[in-house]
Symmetry: C2
Subunit: 243 residues, 2 copies
């Protein structure tokens, strides 16, 4: 099988130097393609029959709803990310998953995953690392919402998305394509869409960055990192941690 350059391979490859047999096993995980339209939940809270997926293209968001009718987006997933790993061990899914754009994803059977791990334990480590990194991002998100004001929070979030996309080859320090609406951004950052709009304007007028017409552009990367108190380290790798 030809060595592939999928987002998943690129991401895990940043952590573990992958051998040919390992690449081959990963390649097989892309064998069960599924397609989902934007805006229709792939998984909803309380759903019993669940699957895990690897995102091939498109963006999705994971969210929970609250009594008042609002919702909190916990995280977005971009190509190369896993979906639904966390609640595999629960009786029912504990959150909703909604595609932000049209999405192509590969369904991963749990048995397949376990089997892959048995034959290539280093893959298990790589996936665990990816899961730990996901949780670290949720934690950083929590810190943002709890202790940063709207500007810092917004800047931090868009920087982090940039770092993740860069890891899978979909972004640079110049910017990236971003299909999120200001409403989605608001639901993710615990702010109102109106206020997001004002904050984006302030950031633009300060010459730090812009987010318009589906594209995030960093105009003063260092300044933005300083404003957001963004830690480059935890997404920055000089190369695989495991050779």
């Amino acid at each position: 099988m030809q060595v592939q350059d999928t987002p998943l391979v690129r991401k895990l490859g940043a952590f573990v130097a992958l051998s040919d047999p390992e690449l081959e096993i990963l390649g097989r995980m892309h064998g069960r393609p599924r397609s989902f339209p934007a805006g229709v939940d792939m998984v909803h809270e309380g759903q019993v029959k669940r699957s895990a997926y690897v995102l091939a293209s498109g963006w999705v968001c994971s969210y929970k709803t609250v009594a008042g009718g609002g919702r909190q987006i916990v995280d977005f997933q971009v190509p190369g990310d896993f979906l639904g790993l966390r609640s595999l061990l629960f009786r029912t899914a504990d959150h909703n998953i909604e595609p932000v754009t049209r999405v192509e994803a590969s369904e991963v059977l749990i048995s397949e995953l376990i089997d892959g791990f048995t034959r290539a334990p280093r893959l298990a480590t790589a996936v665990l690392w990816a899961a730990s990194r996901d949780e670290a991002m949720v934690v950083e998100h929590l810190v943002s919402i709890g202790r940063r004001n709207a500007q810092e929070r917004t800047a931090h979030f868009l920087l982090e998305l940039g770092a993740r996309l860069t890891l899978v080859g979909l972004g640079t320090q110049e910017g990236y394509a971003c299909p999120l609406s200001q409403y989605l951004l608001a639901d993710a950052l615990g702010l109102s869409a109106v206020h997001i709009n004002r904050v984006l304007r302030e950031l633009r007028e300060a010459g730090l960055m812009s987010f318009q017409k589906g594209r995030v552009e960093f105009h003063d990367f260092a300044g933005l990192v300083a404003l957001a108190d963004f830690d480059l380290a935890y997404l920055d790798h000089d190369g695989p941690l495991l050779k």
Copy 2:
């Protein structure tokens, strides 16, 4: 070896029905006791040499600091909880761990953990479940801070702590002993200590609950659950999920 009734055994036992050999392996994890005074960090951000621990007695908090000098407490750990599992795969710890009270904990070597899993795979499942549950709590915390007002947030948090403590035999629907100061509560809930004080007074005057002199008392459990939009399901088990 005598079958033990430690908080860890009690918690994992709620998820997986544990056999004698499994209990014996768990018991051995309590073989490396350590003691820590209140207020002195056990682990700090960026620290390279890390250990994992199982909490035997006392409370600790995990937190991250932000530029302005503030901090956000991500979670508290109570007896039976693991410490430091998440960042095991990172080069350095990504958060601080501070004992809230004097703490007794057992150091767990990574090799020991892996070895235990090899000989008792069901233990691995149980620990993974515990880790997933921890992450689910962080997510719920995120939702609280993002989308609930101060009253709902405070009520939700104290209810969740109660549910966790009940799981290890340290609380009931009547209440529980709680060593947290209003400052710690504030750092956890993304509020100021002054406002926490007012919120606690409102909850008390509404006849819902009280938190005074180190003790949380639920006066109207159902009313509090309704106010907080608290989901009893995800911490509520009729018995082990795996027989």
